[in-house]
Amino acid sequence: MIRPRAPLFLAKSGYRRRRLADAARLVPVFGGFLICLPILWSPAETDVRDTAPDGIYLFLVWAGLILAAAALAPGLRQAGGAERTGPPEPGDRAGPPPGTGD
């Protein structure tokens, strides 16, 4: 099936939304890297007691990820809403309020 060709270049708002989605995809990649970083600190070979600093580091990374996701989420919600322009499903049209099926 031939799909309708998407436009090659987008207006500024559309462009920003795409880059926002790219950022959202990158967050877990960077997050994964930062979380796995302690592996490279060769923990087994040092005698330094580093559990507490490691813990603080991990919690900081964690908080950073939460903040990043929170910063991106509102913009992405709008982007998701803009994408939802399809016709309603036939089933949705007739959906009774839940509970009446009993």
């Binding site: 995809r25 302690p38 007691r49 939460i66 007739a94 309020p97």
Partner: protein
Amino acid sequence: MPFNILVLSCLIYVIFLFLVAFVAERRAARGLFGFLRSPMIYTLSLSIYCTAWTFYGAVGYAARSGLEFLTIYLGPTLVFVGWWWVLRKLVRIGRQQRVTSIADLISSRYGKSNLLGVIVTVIAVVAATPYIALQLQSVTLSFGVFASGTPEGWALPDQASTGIWVAAGLALFTIVFGTRNLDAKEQHPGIVMAIAVEAIVKLVALLAVGIFVVWGLADGPADIMARIEASPIANWDLQPGRWTGLICLSAAAVICLPRMFQVMVVENADEAHLGRASWAFPAYLFGMSLFILPIAVMGLERLPSGANPDMFVLTLPLSEGQGALAMLAFLGGFSSATSMVIVESIALSTMLSNHVVMPLWLRLLPGQAAKGDLRWIVLLARRVSIAAVLALGYAYYQMSGGSAALAAIGFIAFAGVAQVLPSLLGGIFWRGATKTGAAAGMVLGLVVWAYALFLPSFGPGAVIPAQVFTEGPMGLGWLRPQALFGVEGMDPLIHAVFWSLVLNTAAFFAGSLLTFPDPVERMQGAAFVNAFDDEMLTGPLGWTRGQAEPEALLIMAQRILGDEAALVFFEAETRAQGKAGYLPDPTPDFVAGLERRLAGSVGAATAHAMISQLFGRATVTVEDLMAVANETAQMMEYSARLEHQQDELGRTARQLREVNEKLTQLSVQKDGFLSQISHELRTPMTSIRAFSEILTEGDLPRAQVASYGRIIHDEAIRLTRLLDDLLDLSVLENGSVQLTLDLANLGLMIDRALAASCHTRPERSFDIQRSMGAEDIFLRTDADRLVQVFINLISNARKYCDAREPSLRIAVRQRGGRVTVDFIDNGSGIPKDAQAVVFEKFARLSNEARAGGAGLGLAICREVMANLGGTITYLPGQRGAAFRVTVPLRLEKPGVA
């Protein structure tokens, strides 16, 4: 604390939950969703990820393995902050396809295959059983902790009976709220609300204990840091394999766990909620894990060395004499366990009834599909399934003796459900994934998981003989459960996860590449992978042919949805088709919508099977698919053709407009021509008439008569010449002129023309410059006509050249097969704006010197040249009037006409 008070507070708490669920259900039934469908409730309901395993087990885990406990929460954090990758698509597909469970999703994706539904159900049940046992064990343990040392009041019942009571109570709650209705979408607002409340209780309880530990027992964060460094936990070393492996495992589990799928996809009320949950859920996990390590450290420090670290959350406040805090912690743990068991058993019972009981029932009693009320059968199946799932969990708890560390059991469950992941991700991102591949992958993964992790968890010799562990089955050393293919020295858990997922994925890809999917599978594959392209919704394609009685469909729908709901649905569909009544035409759209609606209750595979029974046709064929694809291609081709035709029409219209303009112009020209002609004819006529009238009166001197007679004669000649010219022009324009072709010398022709034109203004002496050598060319043409043109041009020059010493240069040049003859005088030439019209009829540049013709001369020249296959043009920029005549060297006869 007396045991009976403990039981009493549990009961009060449970009754409170019942009330919350009840009120939420009532509000939902009245359509008052309000905050029931808010992102906050959605996020809180996701917290069933944190079970008793988190609440009690995480502290124990931290006490044993330091920071490694974080992996269980970092994995889901990555999945949720990366919701744009997977979760968003899962939720969208779940809503589009009205998915009822993860088994339904897999079965629906792979051609509504019930076999896959059964496989996923088996995986889920097998993996969930130890997990449910874990919850029962933790509740029982916490009861034991609380009641120990307080023999007064009720006697402490033995642990087994506590477990039974807990299991029975949970079954009751789940049955009451989880199977109240069989609705279009498998959503349970009451239960979600209760879980949200329990989520808050869990979080508050753990935070309270944590704050008490950090600021009550220790002197704030800095002190805690020092204590951590001083405690045995600090001896923990990060093992890279386990660290990354467990993060991946927990990330896989958060997607695949049946209960997570239930709250995340099935109970999702609005896709936008996921965006909020993407950071709020990780924040919840953050809050849950923040104080785990401090609690573990203080527990190790303060409690006797034999104390179970899994119970530190309870025992630490108890030993410090904080009864109320301990009570809160107890309720938190209780909440964690109950919410998990409730949702898990709902999810599993949905799978069991939709993928095992209903298909079996339809298979055994095919005639019953359209008869009898199916709803109570479905509901009964669910209720029995809930009881069965809990019974299984209880049995496992009894069998395993409840001794293993909590964390270990949890990981076994995680690794089990992770076997669904390759087929799930492959299914939503790769159209080439097939049923066979998915089945092969999951079965192989399940077998490896059971052999390398699940069965060994009962201990060496329990299920697998101890000898197999050391030497392998039948002496095959490379098949030792914990050292498959000779991989030794790996952590047993990571080893099992690694091999099961690697083999699972390999089988999945190999099976997918080697087999050919059936049409329904390909259709569903396209719909799943392209879930975000709305036009790719291929739902209606399934039932393009075949017939079903709308009434039979209605009866069947009533059996599943209930009378009222089915009627409402049918009526709305009828209205949408523009008809009145309750029976819509069984169009593909309608039947697909109905199937999706039924799938929301009994799962895609069963709904498909039931509709096929009425349709008398089980599957779509490749031909159907191709027909649809062809139709689309034809439509596109057709529209392209239309577009092309439209362009052509536009072009034609433009051409017509141009022609029309030309015609209008011609008509104007013709009118102008007519009026010119009548004017030209009238002038000599008037003078002839006037003088002839005078002559008829007689009585005139003889000399005057002669003079008048001459005037009349001159005017008559002028008239004749004009008429000759007009005749000539019309003959030339019609192309019906007779040419007499012969060889003629150009120089001689010019001589003739010069001789003939010397009559024009004979008083002027012209200096004629010629190049005799160049003129010596023989042309095959109509000499008389060509000379006529030359005469005209030379006469014009004689007439109009206004120089004091007029001269005319005649230049002849031969180029290619053509000869050009330029007539250039030294007058002031023709003004630029007049150059365009000199060849038009009656075009005269000035009114003086009318001695010549009627202004038809150049027009005739142009026509003559056209007939001779040549051209005549005005040559600008020659410092005088200049005309260029071009003639072919040889004029062929056929070209003449």
